[in-house]
Symmetry: C2
Amino acid sequence: MSGSEASRAVTRWLEAFSTALEARDIAGALALFGPEAYWRDFVAFTWNLTTMEGRDAITDMLERTLDRVSPSRWTADGKASEGDGVTQGWFTFETAVGRGKGQVRLKDGKAWTLFTTLQELKGYEEKAGFTRPNGTEHGAFKKRKSWLEKRQQEEAEFGYSVQPYCLIIGGGQGGIGLGARLKRIGVPTLIIDRHARAGDAWRKRYKSLCLHDPVWYDHLPYLPFPDHWPIYTPKDQMGDWLEAYTKLMELNYWASTRCRSASYDEGKREWSVVVEREGQPVTLRPRHLVLATGMSGVPNVPHYPGADMFRGKQHHSSLHSGGEGYEGKHCVVVGSNNSAHDIAADLWEYGAASVTMLQRSPTLVVKSETLAKFRSLYSEEAVRSGIDVDMADLMTASIPYALLPRFLKPVVEQIKKIDAEFYDGLRGAGFMLTFGEDESGIGMMYPRRGSGYYIDVGASQLIIEGEIGLKAGASIRRLTEDGVVLQDGSELPADLIVYATGYGSMNGWAAELISPAVAEKVGPCWGLGSDTAKDPGPWQGELRNMWKPTAQEALWFHGGNLAQSRHYSRYMALQLKARMEGIPTPVYGPVSNA
Amino acid sequence: MSGSEASRAVTRWLEAFSTALEARDIAGALALFGPEAYWRDFVAFTWNLTTMEGRDAITDMLERTLDRVSPSRWTADGKASEGDGVTQGWFTFETAVGRGKGQVRLKDGKAWTLFTTLQELKGYEEKAGFTRPNGTEHGAFKKRKSWLEKRQQEEAEFGYSVQPYCLIIGGGQGGIGLGARLKRIGVPTLIIDRHARAGDAWRKRYKSLCLHDPVWYDHLPYLPFPDHWPIYTPKDQMGDWLEAYTKLMELNYWASTRCRSASYDEGKREWSVVVEREGQPVTLRPRHLVLATGMSGVPNVPHYPGADMFRGKQHHSSLHSGGEGYEGKHCVVVGSNNSAHDIAADLWEYGAASVTMLQRSPTLVVKSETLAKFRSLYSEEAVRSGIDVDMADLMTASIPYALLPRFLKPVVEQIKKIDAEFYDGLRGAGFMLTFGEDESGIGMMYPRRGSGYYIDVGASQLIIEGEIGLKAGASIRRLTEDGVVLQDGSELPADLIVYATGYGSMNGWAAELISPAVAEKVGPCWGLGSDTAKDPGPWQGELRNMWKPTAQEALWFHGGNLAQSRHYSRYMALQLKARMEGIPTPVYGPVSNA
């Protein structure tokens, strides 16, 4: 099929679909879907992030939403393409309240997957480009306030005499990027963060840390990194970028501020949040509360017998600042995911006497360079061919999670071949490898668990060469004064133990800051319910509780890696703006994914 | 002529031109120019910014440069266009040492104007896009230094044990933008600035100041303002942008540093520059010295009899921080250019009892909004049609100064018509108006004088309404204890006198920091030698001494508005890089424009 034939097929489909929907002819619309059918919707139809899997689910959704959503103006956008019997094309559309963008994949002329997203609310579009502010009002006005005076006034009043509509707890890339989106559509937002400066969450990590994802994947909204920016951003440079970004985007950001408690008044429909700002208590009363407290939740710190008698240093990986000071020391790293590998390699680079990794369970390892080859949507080539980061995000999201393993397994097969020697080396060193229970690789491991993998930037070679000692399948039985005793009875000397043992679910923060009852009502965050290790069912089709309404009114979770924070913050911002403006937002589909 | 015919005409011309140049057939090349012919070259052929005006000048230049430059690969770039009998098209080409971009305008198939620019040096291309750095080196290395450690080491050593190749005095937008360009091509550069923070030169100006040019005109290199940025940037926001930019671009920037003296050692071919950094003297030994001390030179402060007995406040406009504190006070503003108008309006807005402007000579006034309409290359429309700021800069520079009045006079005619009522109002208030001696408007006034105009953002209406008093043709005879006496003997009460009396030539800085002898050797900066008021001849064809070699080896001047600083910093950076790498840079054409 030629490109123009593909475009014609998509246009034909859109016209028929549009006609059926405008006639409220749900049966007619369903006739345009194939026997296997998925409809992923971000906010446009459902005010939720939901995938309707199968014809019945699509029918039910349309029955409940079609009249209200009143979609129209389905228009092909750009050229369609065809490959492997699948024709795909992008389109724009409108709803009663907004404008959207989407994609359809056709098989034999019928929709296999449909993807619809809300991109902006009518009447509340971002002020940018032609609609950007003037900056100054030309003319002469008595008692005019300058930009600086207005900014200073806002800083003095905001959070005190003027309440934010939205409070974001956590000012890492997630909170900052969401704050920027909310700023652009005029949602008064305050971000609080416990560190002294924006970006410190990165600065305070171990010294050798660089982003494991390449720059094309890591842009924040609106202000992309300049084109000389390194592929793998060093942590302190990332910290500086976030700090500058916060300032340039004019975000209201309280550093050195900790959240002490939060409770929701169902009657007033507002939160009461007690924070400590530079030591002073302040009570905030936002209408919405967003927990952006890190992609992961509260650190998991194991407690072993004898921990109190151990004379060396022991701490969770989140508190480990680097290998400096451990020259000539015996070091044990518990865990085998990203942080564990990075920390072990860093200790080796600093000349530790020994570094031993305790691998508790099989781990997925993929070389960073190899992974980058298969992430062609986020690459210099993509940029040159006109795929900007917003388009790459949409393209990535266009595949429903239920179908993703089918797309990913062939990639895993290729990676295994490309790096066969590397994997043989790891196995030879005793490393317990996995590529996921269904061999779908890191692309599924990440949404299922948010952990369980190492994107190799060098540590694996040290393991292969025995420079980093490995105890596979090992765990600690107890600590002694100067070492650890493993379950098999063997002993390791230790001056340092780093617990790279991961984090709990993000709703641990809800338990800590709000209440265990609310955390339980909301249920765990992240995970698809894939019924694989550490991702128990039932199947959800989307990530639990992330970027969408939860079972607790006005409580939201925002997080993920830089790419997810960037993309999904768009939908978070639209959901919050709609509520602020009193646009009805009836939520369709699962809310609590407990 | 259709677009494709235009493209064919340009391609044909380029092929013939290329053939002649490759055969070193200068007569043949000249046969491709029309009777009226201009060739503007930025660095590519001349290692200078020079316009060859007329066939003889072109012949002479080719005779002296062609063998060495050895141009080749002339290739049409994009679509050509035709209008009013002129066909114009862009092209790329190469020289022995670099790659260039240019434009030709054809009349009757012969070149009317040719524009050639060097864009990069072969082997020394900017590291960006595909060639950006990795950020981290994957693998494991003992004693690896992190980005932060390397940066801290550089900051500790640079200017002390490690000398900059280039020292830029003045860290405003000019110095910062040039610093960013030099950083990208690896020229070790130090920027010094007397203020405590980058951006303070903006922050410390009068409170109401916003850029008079719109945002599309004001981008710095590499990191454009995001698309919500206001059209007219408020000064403090501009300060914050510059400060963040300096940090994100990893520039070596010494704040709170004053240059005390500089001298050039012709034997060693290096400068000895004594600076005071936070009170401590440091001697720097750069190979090149760039004065980026502001678009203008040393402030002109008039000294009137009685100045010492005046009991109010009096200061130059550069030291005026705003109208605050002058409520109910009588204020006199000497001068009638941008700053004078802004300051007068600001005093009025603060409720001064009276504000009187002393207009000493006719002034060009143009409304900001009207001007913006005629600056379509720098607009949202241009952005949407694919004209990025680099292309807009080239398009702007493609017209030789000698021809510019011809392009500008019709614009002035239109502006006069659009704003006829406005200009009548100003005349009615007694304001002495000019549109330039040859009615070529601000577009020529600016390169000729760098002053003499007001881009109206509101003050003119106050003058029309008499809210700001005007004394046209007036100047001060002497000051009294509480006012000023004008030349006509009339008196004005005054609590404040602001001298918005402009600045001397930039080479005043050379006199002050290096020596009067060097300043005299170099001659004045700026101005075209148009033989109009304040721009004495002889005709230069280019701005004197700006962004190009001067009569003092290794001394350079950089400045201009944001757009000029952005565009010309590219050529400054290439000239400095070539010298650093030992690429021969024989300069053709006038060096000292004294």
